[in-house]
Amino acid sequence: MTQHNRAKSDVFVPSGQIQFGVFFQGVNSGTIWKAAESGSQTDFESFRRIAQTAERGLFAAFFLGEGLRLREHLGRPHALDVVGRPDAQTMLAALASVTTNIGLVATQNTTYNDPADLAHRLASLDLISGGRAAWNIVTTDNAWTGANFRRGGYLDHADRYKHAEAFVETAKRIWDSWETPDGPARRVVHQGQHYTVDVTPRLPRSAQYRPVLFQAGDSPEGRNFAARQADVIFSAHPKFDDAVEFRKDLVERSLAAGRGANAVQIMPASEFILAPTAAEAAEKKEWVRSLQIGPQQAIAYLEQFWGRELSSYDPDGPLPEIDPVVEETSETRGSGFHGAKARQLADQWRAEAKDKGLSIRQFVTSRTARVDSTFTGSYVEVADQLAEFARVGAVDGFNISPWLIPSGLDDIVNHLVPELQERGVYPTEYRGNTLWENLGLETPVRSSDAAAEAVRA
């Protein structure tokens, strides 16, 4: 496996390749459920279909997100979007038995898990899948989610990355300390502010040594954490200039952390709306957006910020003239509202919508984040675009959120992938059986107390 690994270097070198992951989001607002083709969001069959299609398209990885409490809207569970999803590792263990090469990435929170337990479960998934497991490390913490767990919301927001780092270091030490041909398993002891671990690992190393580590988080602390600990960063910067800027930033942070310039790969979240021609793709996009942001979604979007019911407003009319009831909100309810000054925001938005002559629905459509992460166009156009990303090394790949389940990857696999392969920027076969090999990652970073040991090739 080492022959594919990239050597550590101080200079960033583009791989010239693009790889794909698929992000089966579960709870989210972008997956269309109103179309006739839309299937179950929880039945195994949907997951199997997406994962096997992705594997046919030589995707590197299959991702599952996580949210440990249902999102709320005006004090009740949010009713309009896709809600509910299976546990990531349980689903991935099942998918491991119906796939052979694709990586299996579980988003798992560092705040509401115990390190020894999570490390063991991830190692189990890694072994069962033959070295295809990965952990997408997220750090979300709040008392509201904590209400579902024994410790409650015990962590100060400012501490979440410090805590996450101790957590991940501990997990790495556990994976480093398995029994090897050279010696028995070693006891791992950690005593910290938030948890204490005293455990002797009980599973052998997997074919890829340990689970691959992804990180999703965007603040400077999040990026530094990724630069120190992760193998891949699941970013939110898919537009070309932004992506190039993000790469530069991450390379600097990786070097500052004492790692190579290529040590951390970048896979931004993205959405693809494709068709044989540009005109058809544009039309398809209109249709997709109209289903993603229907009249009720548009009103609900404003309600999050207004903090009050706005159902009497016409979605095709102007923004509400009444003011928000919350001046400031400090606590997220999982809906993306992070305590902006609501009244100020409302004034700003009203002015902007009036200026551009936008209705509530048009305004909300223009505002939603995914507008920035969408590639729209003909297969040929988009393939050319992505080839440019590959040429300069803006990203290592894209983590695609299909807007339709379970057929949402079909056109990508059937049409976009062959175009990319023709351009020589997409794999034509899996390089190996492990995720590590297929991503072409550098040799794993060892935890300090095990660094002296030779890495098993």
């Binding site: 590792q89 349980t90 998918l95 033959g130």
Partner: protein, 361 residues
């Protein structure tokens, strides 16, 4: 219970199948084709053992008939995670999942998560609390909560989602001495109601008492020797309600490939009742035992060796004698246990009336 009329069931403990995917598939397919009704997955912290629930999940898509029943600890694992993971197992197995409740006693399990060791009656309390939270979370979405109503733009009907408001301090009021750190869970679950509505919950008889008998669907019964099993089964049955299945635990080592059982495995001993001998002898023993017990869980001394004998000689003969319950392809684990699909405890009268009785999965 009605199961006596239908015949008994056999479960096979697959612990010997380890952590390798190919090996696991081979084992569970062998158990399924041999005619076992259920496969169980041990989860004690021993070297080389992968997470039991994940092993069961891996087996899900590979099989069609056999129930998949992992052990999951209730003391040092988060109840919210357990509930979600088990509900997910039910989805990936098409409604064939169950749960063997365990309460870890080992100081190692406590040290691993940095908690003081839990012992004695407190083990049962932790188990009872964990079962109660899981059951409430499984009910927290009514069956028809996902409505996908295009006209109103609503994916779910929020009136059919419920906060479970679980709190050990309140629920175990009579036990001011609740020994675990008290905790609460809000809910609702993050996954829709499991396909079976409620997964069958199995618990070892030693937890009964702290775990109320009506909180479980089946009880696992051990005895120090095979001759004592039937009496122990009768004793436990007298302590549980009519609908609760009673399952005997039995270690087996069979004469195989010209080698006598005794010679094959020296010192195979777990503290459970043990049968060592010929396949014919075991067949007779199980025929008698299944007159008392609803099911037997077999722990083979050597998974593939004993499984070969069981599949070739024991199960076919038991089936011929009419001792075993028929196998149902794509049936649920509840079906196997003769349990109907329960209505959510939170279901409103209106939705109760609307839901077809015993609606399938």
């Amino acid at each position: 219970m009605s199961s006596t009329r239908q015949g008994g069931f056999l479960a096979l403990e697959l612990d010997g199948a380890g952590w390798d995917g190919a090996h696991l598939t081979r084992a569970v397919l062998a158990a399924e084709s041999a005619g076992f009704h259920a496969a169980t997955f041990t989860d004690a912290p021993a070297p080389g053992r992968a997470n039991a629930l994940q092993r069961a999940a891996f087996a899900g898509p590979a099989t069609r008939t056999i129930a998949l029943v992992p052990e999951v600890d209730t003391v040092y694992t988060e109840p919210f995670h357990i509930s979600t993971q088990l509900a997910s197992l039910d989805y990936v197995s098409g409604g064939r999942a169950g749960w063997i409740v365990t309460a870890a006693e080992s100081p190692e399990a406590a040290a691993a998560v940095g908690r003081p060791s839990v012992t004695g009656a407190a083990l049962g309390q932790e188990a009872a609390a964990s079962i109660e939270v899981s059951r409430r979370l499984w009910d927290s979405w009514e069956d028809d909560a996902v409505i996908r109503d295009v006209a109103t733009g609503r994916y779910i009907d929020v009136d059919k989602l419920h906060y479970v408001d679980f709190d050990t301090a309140v629920d175990f009021e009579t036990r001011a001495d609740f020994a675990g750190a008290g905790y609460s869970v809000q809910g609702p679950s993050i996954i829709p109601r499991p396909l079976q509505g409620q997964l069958p919950v199995l618990a070892p008889a030693c937890l009964l008492g702290e775990v109320p008998a009506d909180a479980v669907d089946a009880v696992l019964v051990s005895a120090p020797a095979a001759e004592l099993l039937a009496a122990e089964v009768r004793d436990v049955r007298s302590r549980v309600a009519a609908g609760v299945a009673v399952v005997a635990e039995l270690d087996v080592v069979l004469d195989s490939r010209g080698q006598a059982a005794a010679g094959r495995v020296a010192g195979f001993g777990s503290g459970r009742a043990n049968y060592a001998g010929s396949a014919a002898g075991l067949t007779d023993f199980l025929t008698e035992l299944l007159e008392e017990a609803d099911g037997v869980r077999l722990h083979p001394a050597s998974l593939f060796v004993d499984l070969e004998e069981l599949g070739r000689l024991v199960l076919p003969e038991l089936r011929r004698r009419g001792v075993l319950r028929p196998l149902v392809q794509d049936g649920t684990f509840r079906d196997l246990l003769g349990l109907s699909r329960p209505v959510s405890r939170y279901a409103t009268a209106a939705s109760n009336a609307a839901a077809p009785a015993g609606a399938g999965k």
